[in-house]
């Protein structure tokens, strides 16, 4: 079941943005996110905004979605006045690879026609290993994609089964190799750790597999039991145990040690990359509070301190756009205080850290205490930046609490 949208203010039907949000547009990095709300099946742990063909029936299809997407990107270009060129494009989901190489080429073409791409723009698509092939990668490479992110999750068959993932344990590594062979320098593998039944050896096998795939980027997320998912019901019934925080901490440390040893140091709490060029520029844009337009059902956008989010259901999304209206379901104009809290919340997760002067005097005093507690790097703090220590990374949310 997809999770709920936030509560916010109503969004205007014409999609217009207040002048304050538009001020300075183009002087900051700008990205485009495209949400593909389709999956072949729903995984038990997932609460993303995604639907199977069976769930949608005749109410929406990839065709109606693509029409809606084009209409939204046109609307975006219109309401932004002079649309900036996209420095990053990220096609996520759902399962973008379900669209096939041609479908993804259409998506990128639509972004190009509305915004254009900056020279050297990063263009990523997520893919599920089982719906890719050498031809697929060649196709999207030709279309202009520069980066691929593969949902590997684990190399252990029994873990993949608990997660309802359909691919075989070896497929993600093969897919990563195919992608590299097709010319992709930047390939990411996504891992999920802490799945019930996953042992330290299982995790080691996953990490070894990542290493053998030769990718330049890894994201590893702790399994989060989201309310309303099949996984959460299984845990409630006692069929599966709840992931234990201490075990999750052990596994995080295991991952971080292995990644560091493989020459991929962390650059965000849940992300590791070989070097600066390998970092995901699109995600960095989120974490640094830059501007992006999120197109597609349920997508979130941020431009100059205005956040808004689209209607979630693909049918509703397509209908609204067919009428020539904005698909935004709600929005919020961030106050100065909101923006400060968000900066702490997001930038603290980066290895580059957060400038100390973003904090209020209480927060700055607290930062020194947090350093004494071993949660922030004392040297970085002396240089005016808050940077999490290894232990602090595991307690990032608590540190954010203390600093805000």
């Amino acid at each position: 079941m997809p999770s709920a949208l936030p509560a916010g203010d109503p969004a205007p039907a014409d999609g217009s943005l207040p002048p304050s949000a538009l001020a300075g547009l183009g002087s900051r990095p700008f990205g485009v996110y495209v949400h593909v709300p389709f999956c072949a099946t729903r995984c038990g742990y997932c609460d993303f905004n995604t639907y199977t063909a069976g769930e949608l029936g005749t109410s929406a299809s990839p065709q109606s979605w693509l029409e809606g997407l084009r209409a939204e990107l046109d609307l975006a270009a219109r309401v932004l006045g002079t649309p900036p060129r996209a420095d990053t494009v990220f096609v996520g989901g759902g399962t973008p690879s379900l669209l096939g190489a041609d479908g993804l080429a259409d998506v990128l073409a639509a972004v190009r026609s509305s915004f254009g791409l900056s020279p050297g723009a990063e263009v990523t698509t997520e893919s599920n290993p089982e719906s890719t092939s050498a031809e697929f990668f060649a196709g999207i490479r030709d279309a202009g994609y520069t980066r691929v992110s593969l949902g590997m999750q684990s190399a252990a068959r029994h873990v993949l089964r608990v997660l309802d993932r359909k691919h075989t344990p070896g497929r993600p590594v093969d897919a990563a190799r195919e992608a590299r062979a097709a010319g992709f320098e930047h390939v990411n593998l996504d891992l999920i750790y802490g799945t019930p039944g996953e042992t330290a050896d299982d995790l080691k096998a996953s990490l070894d597999a990542v290493y053998s795939a030769g990718v330049d980027h890894v994201s590893a997320y702790a399994l989060i039991v989201e309310e309303g998912t099949a996984l959460s019901r299984k845990i409630d019934r006692g069929v599966l145990p709840m992931p234990d925080d201490d075990v999750l901490a052990d596994k995080y440390e295991q991952i971080d040690a292995a990644m560091t040893a493989q020459g991929m140091p962390w650059y965000e709490v849940s992300n590791w990359a070989t070097d600066d060029a390998a970092r995901c520029a699109h995600n960095l844009l989120y974490w640094r509070g830059h501007d992006w337009w999120g197109a597609g059902p349920g997508a979130h956008s941020h431009v100059g301190g205005l956040r808004w989010w689209n209607a979630k259901h693909p049918a509703r999304y397509a209908d609204v756009l067919a009428k020539g209206e904005s698909p935004a379901a709600g929005r919020e104009l961030l106050t100065a205080d909101d923006r400060r809290v968000e900066r702490v919340l997001l930038e603290l997760r980066l290895r580059d850290g957060l400038p100390l002067d973003v904090l209020d005097p209480d927060g700055q005093a607290e930062a020194k205490l947090a350093a004494d507690d071993g949660l922030l790097e004392p040297d970085a703090l002396a240089g005016g930046r808050c940077v999490l220590t290894d232990r602090g990374r595991l307690l990032a949310d608590a540190v954010v609490h203390r600093l805000t």
Binding site: V269, L375, D397
Partner: protein, 611 residues
């Protein structure tokens, strides 16, 4: 309904003053109700159960907290008599009030449940009545119950009172069986009051109650002279003079009268607004040509048990003060003064007559004033003599002095426990563990025994009664009265979180039970305090000596929420929500302690559940 008893200045030889001594649940209120009905003062259609218990809490708990009194007409051999029935408080905390009620009587009905036999408090009050030379009329109640064993308990009562088992009356207050005969017996056996009608007025206050509309209503028993509404009266303990607004009798609704004569019981209203100006045990006399000698036996109410009361929500502090002010209007024994706890914020250190008094007060504050309260563990009053000769009276563990102590004194009590003889071993074991000294033991009947102990009050107010009940399957009853003080090896046990003492958890205990308290609190807190970013040592210490320790391991990971995708709004709102939750935490040094942890750590509820 009006009767001949509505007219006052009845000749003393036609008056009988009596009370009913009974244990909770033995049917005192039901018997009183039946007497109201049989004597005809209450219209049967207006009769409601437990007519004389006014407060909801009294009716709910089935106990009488404040004594009531009622004037009843009763004809015997066509001679109209006036009976004053004085209802006595039924709990150990109110022994002094009981003693004043007894003082107002010449006779006592000893009411005992025919299925349960006499209980410890009844026995204690009976002894008090016998000491006051009251005529005792032994009565078995509930003889209609299938479980009743009147023959057995008649023998038991006869043995205690020193009469023949045949003299023990048998009634059923519920059905009314035997109640007429009981009223006749009151007239026959209870001596009429004796007093000097021409002497200066002397009347004893045996109760005073605050009424929202009328101010303080003072219940008195006239000993000498008369009290009339036209004169001014003087309270002999303070010398305060008041106008009398009204004098009257209760039958059972208040009725104004022309005055009260020798031996009569009634009320007076002076317009004072605070029961502390009209104290139980005090003597009322006329302002002009008043008595010079007060009646014997007056005593200032003295709190025996102290506890800190704190609002769960600190902003309720002004409401708590106002509520205590209001309660005190009707409760001369309640004392309170502001105190500050580092852990609990602003509150009041309150003094009570005993544990029940504490519980009732707390209940009323929560129920009648809608307050949510935390109460700290109750403690008694200690007297600490320092080596330099300084003396400290300690009513709060936080005020325990530092430095070299020469001697420490704690209040002790004389306890009476009555239980089936099967439980003698269990009771002795318990009393010994609570530092009790066996004073004597008597068999009341073949299988029921009375044990007498001297025991520190501090042990009794902790969890003694619950323990006693559970070890005797509820069959034991307990009574205690204060009995001076004793020198004891007492220590203050502090509970420290991360090296910082939490004042709300400090306790004074005997050195032999300090370890038990320390380990119990430390392990309780380990369960109750959530893991935090740093390790939290919990220590129990006497001074600088640590006697128990536990550790709350540092949390290693809080939710590493996914922070991809653009839904930053949701994450920020989650953070804001968590921050609001944190505000409800109490900070002890740097440790966040949830409010619930204080409530749970300070309550003994979970101990009860385990047993």
């Amino acid at each position: 309904m009006s009767t001949f008893a509505d007219k006052t200045f009845t000749p003393p030889e036609l008056i009988r003053n009596f009370c009913i001594i009974a244990h909770i649940d033995h049917g005192k209120s039901t018997l009183a109700d039946r007497m109201l009905q049989i004597t005809g003062v209450v219209d049967p259609r207006l009769m409601r159960a437990q007519y004389l218990d006014r407060m909801d809490i009294e009716r709910e708990r089935g106990i009488t907290i404040k004594a009531q009194n009622v004037r009843l007409p009763w004809q015997i051999a066509e001679k109209p008599h006036v009976l004053h029935m004085i209802d006595t408080p039924g709990h150990v905390d109110f022994t002094y009030e009981v003693s004043r009620a007894l003082e107002a009587c010449e006779g006592a009905v000893l009411l005992v449940d025919a299925a349960q036999g006499i209980e410890a408090q009844t026995l204690a009050n009976l002894y008090l009545a016998l000491e006051n030379d009251l005529a005792v009329i032994p009565v078995l109640n509930k003889i209609d119950l299938p479980a009743a064993d009147p023959d057995k308990y008649a023998k038991e009562i006869a043995h205690i009172v020193g009469c023949d088992p045949d003299e023990v009356l048998r009634v059923s207050a519920k059905t009314g069986f035997g109640v007429k005969e009981l009223l006749d017996e009151v007239v026959l056996k209870v001596p009429p009051p004796v007093g000097d009608a021409d002497a200066p007025a002397r009347a004893m206050i045996f109760d005073s109650v605050y009424d929202t509309y009328r101010g303080v209503v003072t219940y008195i028993r006239v000993v000498d002279g008369k009290i009339t509404p036209r004169e001014r009266i003087k309270m002999m303990s303070t010398g305060a003079v008041h106008e009398i607004l009204e004098v009257g009798i209760i039958s059972p609704e208040p009725k104004a009268s022309v005055g009260l004569g020798v031996g009569e019981v009634g009320y007076l209203i002076t317009g004072v607004k605070d029961v502390r100006q009209s104290k139980v045990g005090d003597t009322v006399t006329s302002e002009r040509k008043g008595a010079t000698e007060p009646l014997a036996g007056y005593r200032e109410p003295r709190p025996m048990v102290y506890s800190g009361l704190y609002p769960v929500d600190g902003s309720d502090y002004p409401e708590l003060r106002e509520a205590l002010d209001k309660l005190q209007l009707n409760d001369a024994a309640l004392t309170y003064e502001p105190e500050t706890s580092a852990a609990l914020g602003f509150g009041f250190r309150c003094g009570f007559l005993g544990l029940l008094h504490l519980e009732i007060t707390r209940d009323r504050l929560e129920r009648e004033f809608g307050l949510d309260l935390i109460s700290t563990a109750p403690n008694v009053v200690y007297r600490v003599v320092m080596e330099d000769g300084a003396v400290h009276t300690v009513t709060n563990p936080s005020d325990w002095p530092d430095g070299k102590m020469a001697d420490i004194f704690e209040p002790v009590t004389k306890c009476t426990i009555i239980a089936p003889s099967d439980y003698i071993g269990a009771i002795m074991e318990l009393c010994q563990s609570k530092r009790g000294q066996l004073g004597g033991m008597d068999y009341l009947s073949e299988d029921r025994v009375e044990l007498r102990y001297t025991m520190p009050l501090g042990e009794i107010i902790f969890d003694f009664f619950d323990n006693l009940k559970s070890r005797t399957r509820g069959y034991a009853s307990l009574d205690y009265e204060e009995s001076g003080e004793q020198s004891s090896e007492l220590v203050k046990v502090d509970i420290l979180l991360q090296g910082e003492a939490v004042d709300a958890f400090s306790a004074i205990c005997h050195k032999d039970s300090a370890y038990g308290y320390g380990t119990r609190m430390a392990s309780k807190l380990r369960e109750l305090i959530p893991r935090q970013q740093f390790e939290i040592p919990i220590q129990a210490a006497i001074g600088s000596r640590v006697i128990a320790r536990e550790n709350i391991r540092a949390i290693r990971k809080d939710v590493l929420a996914k922070c991809y995708g653009g839904d930053i709004t949701r994450k920020r709102k989650l953070l804001e929500k968590q921050k609001v939750g944190k505000k409800r935490m109490k900070m002890v040094g740097r440790v966040e302690v949830p409010q619930e942890a204080f409530v749970a750590a300070l309550s003994t509820d979970d101990d009860k559940k385990k047993k």
